[in-house]
């Protein structure tokens, strides 16, 4: 029953994500009054990355190539095969909005992630326990590189000595230090970023991770030995090539790379809005501790979510048949 019961927890997160994505779009009735004479270069002659950006891919679902799935949580259907699964109860009420889009993947080379045998087993297990384990669902800090390709916009504020990146997701940030700074006193979710320019490419060395992050919703993960080298290169004024070399000898047998374009949000009124999910996940995290349950309850170690979908007259799917 684990698949069903954990699957049921998903609905809260999915609803939050849907609401949040809508909010972040913020396309309003107004055209642009902003004086957006965007220079391709900054005052000190570097490529100008300032602005609002977003990845446009499926990497947050799974860095690797994958086919579309009928639900973010599934269970066995009529046939016993993996390719004939059906959506699990919790996401069923959301219909086609709860599925997972397919992707050709963002892992370079043969598309494989070079796990060690023991970490490969952990990766598989992670995938099977996604909603119990993925830090994204708890609104934890997303870490790098995941924050760069989550389905939320982020904003770069590029100065001379600092390149600051602000993320809509949980209103967090990272500062890429181009000047010499002391590292934080302890490891962190978002790591410690030190950057330099190599021609037109911003190269960022990221270390100091606490090892609690994942790369995606598929369960790809790393340890606290993670070391990233990110490369931001301009393709056009509105597209950045984002490449990351990922090294983690505790988890992988060799370094590997991902790459993807990041696109500028071109709406004249584009703006980073809040996605303050700490509030959104209170029911997910603490709902079972309420004095009176709202939508879920515990029976021993099993979580029960009651879903009632009332369809008002006129919206019933098969009215034509009943007539």
């Amino acid at each position: 029953m684990r698949g069903w019961s954990t699957g049921a927890m998903l609905v809260v997160a999915v609803l939050a994500a849907v609401v949040g994505a809508g909010g972040a779009m913020a396309v309003s009735r107004r055209g642009g009054t902003a004086s957006s004479t965007r220079a391709a270069r900054t005052a000190d002659g570097k490529p100008d990355f300032s602005g609002i950006w977003q990845a446009l891919n499926e990497a947050n679902w799974d860095l690797q190539a994958h086919e579309a799935r009928p639900g973010s949580v599934t269970q066995q259907g009529v046939y016993p095969y993996a390719y004939t699964k059906v959506p699990a109860a919790a996401v069923l009420a959301l219909g086609a909005a709860a599925g997972v889009p397919g992707s050709v993947g963002v892992v370079e080379g043969d598309g494989e992630i070079p796990y060690k045998p023991e970490t490969a087993a952990m990766r598989k297990e992670n995938g099977e326990h996604w909603i119990d384990r993925d830090p994204e669902l708890k609104c934890y800090l997303p870490g790098i590189p995941r924050a760069m390709y989550m389905p939320y916009p982020f904003q770069i504020v590029q100065s001379t000595n600092k390149v600051h990146m602000a993320f809509a997701f949980t209103s967090t940030a990272r500062t890429v230090n181009l000047d010499e700074v002391e590292p934080p006193p302890d490891d962190t979710y978002m790591g410690h970023s030190v950057g330099r320019w190599e021609g037109d490419t911003l190269v960022v060395d990221v270390t100091g991770f606490n090892g609690k992050n994942w790369f995606d919703r598929a369960g790809n993960f790393h340890s606290d030995a993670l070391h990233l080298v990110e490369r931001f290169s301009p393709i056009t004024p509105d597209v950045i090539r984002y490449e990351v070399t990922i090294e983690d000898p505790k988890t992988f047998t060799r370094p590997w790379r991902i790459s993807m374009p990041l696109y500028r949000r071109m709406e004249p009124n584009a703006q980073l809005l809040e996605y303050r999910c700490i509030e959104f996940v209170e029911e997910f995290l603490y709902g079972n501790l309420r004095k009176q349950q709202l939508v879920k309850r515990w029976e021993g170690d099993t979580i029960i979510v009651d879903i009632t979908r009332k369809v008002p007259p006129g919206d019933q799917l098969h009215d034509w048949y009943r007539r």
């Binding site: 107004r30 800090l141 001379t160 000595n161 600092k162 209103s171 500062t175 002391e182 703006q271 509030e279």
Partner: protein, 422 residues
């Protein structure tokens, strides 16, 4: 300002609170002298250079900043006609506060007040030296927040009545502790099962704490790791805004509220504000340059925030001005005709911190380590089970952490014990 911090910090942040203080708060007399000499060891000891410009010609506000000195938000009544402290008064206040910080003001061991006072004034009192000003408020000239409107007074009274109803069967009222001011001891109130009369937010009177943990929503925004709000004047818990600029935007990361930090972007634009249907915890900022000053207009707040009684109608006009290489002036006018009878303004000076020392903490963050919230809720459920089985007292007669209003760590003795309030 420390007063505000007291009220936003929750039990949920307890462990972080202590760690944060140890790491962040300059202990009295130990303001760090940075090797590069950009951090003043004390007022006026470092020669400041002129305020600079960015390479693209905007005034340069960038860097890590903090308030090196303690200043009360409102002028204490005993300094009613004084805009500035004398040096002797500052020294005396430092002495009084140091005595509180160094003291152990525990109530009788094992009593509810003793447990509830685990976070006492020693933790939430600023360890910084007193500044020159007797209040952050510079307008009105009496240094006090203007009177609130009848609607806000009514909302506060309704919430206070609700707080008292939930306290009336506890020892706080039985023993007539300051937390029960305005109420009296009595039987368990049927109001214990009511929804609070207004959204339980944070901030000064009108926010506050209730003696109940039925839901996460019963607890303070601090305990929910959502305490950071605008405006933020810093406080005892450490306050380090980091500013990074580009030609079209000013970014501020607020390291504040012990792991409740957040990221703010101020677009430099003449675009109108977001539509009124879009409300945000930190509002909607629009910046423009007026000479050397960054002027920011902030609207579109949510009704879930509460700053001194002002909720969704809060309108801020912030003015950020670099006075010299070491000093950033922050002036804010608060306006909300549904809350105050007239606008009011504070002014504050921030001191530049060393970029190299990089003493701004984006982590640890309260939320990832919030063991306090499940513990509060699970503890309340355990008390209820014990009572149902005849193994414990009626939880409705008990007072758990933060009972009675949690007046900035002075709940056990009353606000009169705070040398910066009386």
């Amino acid at each position: 300002m420390s007063r505000r911090t007291f009220q936003v910090i929750g039990v949920g942040a307890a462990v972080l609170a202590v760690v944060g203080l140890l790491k962040l708060a300059p202990v009295a007399g130990q303001a760090p002298a940075d090797k590069s000499g950009t951090t003043p060891a004390a007022e006026g000891t470092t020669k400041a250079g002129p305020a600079g410009k960015t390479p693209w010609g905007d005034p340069d506000l960038q860097g890590i900043w903090t308030n090196d000195f303690e200043t009360p938000l409102q002028r204490p009544s005993r300094y009613a006609n004084k805009e500035f402290f004398t040096d002797e008064e500052r020294a005396e206040l430092d002495k009084q506060r140091a005595a509180i910080i160094g003291g152990d003001r525990r109530q009788s061991r094992g009593s509810e007040q003793d447990v509830g006072g685990a976070y006492n004034a020693a933790i939430f009192l600023s360890h910084k030296h007193m500044g020159k000003r007797t209040s952050l408020i510079v307008d009105p000239p009496d240094g006090r927040i203007p009177p609130v409107t009848p609607e806000v007074a009514k909302r506060r009274q309704e919430l206070r009545d609700f707080q008292l109803a939930l306290l009336q069967a506890s020892d706080v009222c039985k023993n007539q502790r300051p937390g029960c001011d305005g109420g009296k001891y009595g039987p368990v109130s049927p109001r214990r099962s009511e929804t609070p009369p207004s959204y339980l937010s944070t901030g000064a009177a009108g926010g506050g704490v209730i003696n109940r943990s039925d839901n996460p929503e019963d607890r303070t925004l601090g305990e929910r790791c959502m305490a950071a709000i605008l405006p933020d004047f810093g406080g005892a818990a450490g306050f380090f805004p980091q500013i990074v600029q580009s030609p079209g935007a000013v970014s501020i990361f607020y390291d504040t509220g012990q792991g409740q930090g957040w990221q703010r972007i101020i677009p430099i634009t003449n675009r109108p504000h977001l539509p009124p249907s879009v409300r945000q915890w930190w509002g909607d900022s629009r910046g423009r340059w007026e000479g050397n000053t960054l002027v920011v207009d902030v609207t579109n707040f949510t009704a879930k925030t509460d700053y001194q009684g002002s909720r969704e109608n809060l309108h801020l006009v912030e003015r950020w001005t670099r006075l010299d290489s070491n000093t950033l002036e922050y002036a804010v006018t608060m306006e909300d005709s549904t809350t105050w009878t007239k606008p009011w303004t504070i002014k504050q000076e921030f001191n530049r911190q060393s970029d190299k020392a990089n003493r701004v903490y984006k982590e640890p963050r309260c939320h990832e380590g919030n063991y306090g919230m499940p513990a509060l809720l699970a503890g309340a459920r355990a008390e209820e089970r014990a009572f149902a089985q005849g193994k414990g007292p009626n939880p409705a007669t008990m007072c758990t952490a933060g009972c009675g209003g949690f007046a900035g760590g002075f709940a056990d003795e009353g606000e009169e014990a705070n040398p910066l309030a009386r």
